[in-house]
């Protein structure tokens, strides 16, 4: 039941609870309780809106930064990550396997803002060995949704 609720919410967090209950073959109270409980347990951590900013007049720059670090004794990666993810302009932080340690995704207003963050905040952290900054040129797909196209029903209107 929980997974089913999550799958539905992940696709559409604005779904009507009553509808959700009908589709899962249960009642509204059960669904509401499950959701409340999952919010409490930090399984559901928030509800977001997917926006294609490219279609607005808002200027945005998104950067993906590969960060290599030396974890310090007694600190490990988690403490270090925290020093990075606390920054408000940091959108996402992942610990990675492979050639570098953290992926940091930055959601900035301008190129200058991003470069200032990298050079002044990120690169100056003691444990940071190196950074490589990549700017996003175009978003094609996000969160399982293809941004470029609006789906269109190609089917004939009535078929057997």
């Amino acid at each position: 039941m929980r997974e089913k609720i999550l799958w539905m919410l992940e696709k559409n967090s604005r779904i009507d609870l009553k509808e959700l209950a009908v589709m899962l073959g249960t009642d509204e109270v059960t669904v509401a309780n499950e959701i409340a409980q999952m919010e409490k347990e930090n399984i559901i951590c928030g509800y977001h809106t997917m926006i294609n900013w490219e279609n607005t007049s808002e200027e945005k720059v998104i950067a993906l930064i590969e960060v290599r670090v030396t974890p310090q004794r007694g600190m490990g990666f988690d403490k270090l990550a925290e020093r990075i993810y606390r920054y408000e302009e940091v959108e996402t932080v992942y610990l990675m396997s492979g050639g570098y340690d953290f992926t940091v995704i930055l959601d900035g207003k301008t190129l200058r803002e991003v470069s200032r963050f990298v050079s002044e905040k990120l690169a100056t952290l003691d444990s940071v060995l190196s950074t490589a900054t990549h700017f996003v040129l175009k978003k094609y797909k996000e969160h399982g949704t293809i941004l470029a196209e609006k789906p269109k029903d190609e089917r004939m209107l009535v078929t057997p």
Partner: protein
């Protein structure tokens, strides 16, 4: 000039759906609930295999019965999903959709005058295919009070000395009815006793809700008298690829291959390569689509219940079949008026046989938003007709 047309063809009734399609076509902004195919695109990894096969230049005929790899995968699939044992070389034929399998099976089995039992309401092609094969269609009317299942009593009543084939269209289009194991066992008993062959059209086998599909071929004593017809259209959302298959007794398959090789040569090569991928790695896609259909099915049944339209609880395919008889108009009139007043297209039940009169077919191969909007309009329409029944009478 003399009349060049065959009496047999001229005598065929035009499809009731075709007629309605022409009306709907003139209303391009209508919301349709009338489609008999999935709203999902074919999963990309399957499409990709089709593209890859074209890139590799696999643009030639395959062997008549189909690609060996595909036949092997079909046998594995029938084993893992239905517990059926077939030999890829002897028991399987890859066809151009399930439709071709229906056609050539009738042609391979029937002698002039042989009777074919066709339960209705059901898919539109059994009857014409039977007539074209010189068979005599005998309609068995499925009843709402039996949840549109075929009962052994009805079957016995319809059997004569001339009965050769029973068509088993379950999970059913348009009613959404299924047959469970006990139902099939009861039918099987009669068929074995009366020595009748079965064409089991299981094209919707992956789309059952709440219980797994059971193939009548898996009932003891039935495999040797059953042709299982299935395909990729509904389960993998591959309607346009035109690919299906038949599995059954070697003697019948080899006759069907003969007809198939003269009429068709082989099923589309690109589609066959894509289908291999579908069978190997498509189970998750099917499960996801099934889950989505099930949610919509519940939503639809609930909405119909709320507006007081009685509707039996469909548990298969992607259709519900509400009863509109009490409004005192034919299902065609109901559908036409609904289209004109509210711009919602549904298919009149009568398009699936005379006994579909009094019902309409609503497809839930649509997004939830689409269904919500359309059902709101249907509710308004029903309200305008003086409202539905009290919800309590919901079956």
């Amino acid at each position: 000039m003399r009349n060049f047309l065959s009496d047999k063809s001229v005598g065929l009734k035009p499809s009731g759906i075709r007629k309605f399609f022409d009306i709907v076509s003139e209303m391009p902004d209508a919301i349709s609930l009338g489609v008999g195919e999935p709203d999902f695109d074919t999963p990309w990894h399957i499409r990709e295999e089709g593209i890859y096969s074209l890139e590799k230049g696999r643009t030639f005929y395959t062997s008549n019965a189909g690609l060996k790899d595909l036949k092997v995968e079909i046998c594995r699939y029938l084993k893992r999903r239905m517990g059926l044992d077939y030999d890829a070389d002897q028991n399987v034929l890859v066809t151009v959709g399930g439709s071709e399998a229906i056609d050539i099976a009738m042609r391979a089995i029937l002698n002039p005058g042989d009777e074919v039992l066709i339960p209705q309401p059901s898919y539109v092609s059994y009857e014409p295919c039977c007539i074209l094969a010189d068979g005599v269609p005998v309609i068995v009317e499925l009843k709402e009070e039996n949840q549109f299942r075929l009962t052994p009593e009805q079957l016995l009543e319809a059997i004569t000395d001339k009965t050769k084939i029973l068509v088993m269209p379950f999970p059913n289009n348009p009613t959404g009815a299924i047959m469970e194991r006990e139902d099939l066992e009861a039918i099987a008993k009669v068929l074995i006793e009366k020595d009748i062959f079965v064409l089991s059209d299981e094209i919707y086998s992956e789309l059952t809700y709440g219980q797994e599909h059971v193939s009548i071929a898996s009932i003891p004593g039935m495999k040797e008298r059953t042709l299982v017809i299935n395909g990729f259209s509904k389960s993998y959302a591959m309607t346009g690829w035109r690919l299906g298959y038949a599995a059954g007794p070697a003697a019948l398959i080899s006759e069907m291959i003969k007809i198939h090789q003269y009429a068709i040569m082989c099923a589309p090569t690109t589609s066959q390569y894509a289908a291999v991928e579908a069978m190997r790695y498509g189970d998750d896609d099917v499960a996801k689509m099934r889950e989505a259909y099930d949610g919509r099915r519940r939503f639809l049944l609930h909405a119909l219940h709320e507006m007081g339209l009685p509707c039996f609880e469909a548990r298969g395919a992607f259709y519900v079949f509400p009863n509109i008889s009490r409004f005192g108009m034919s299902s065609e009139d109901f559908a036409t008026r609904l289209l004109q007043q509210e711009k919602v297209a549904v298919v009149p039940g009568s398009a699936f046989g005379d006994c579909g009169e009094g019902f309409i077919r609503i497809s839930y191969a649509y997004s939830l938003e689409n269904l919500k909007e359309a059902l709101g309009r249907v509710a308004r329409f029903v309200e305008g007709l003086g409202g539905g029944q009290d919800g309590a009478s919901h079956a």
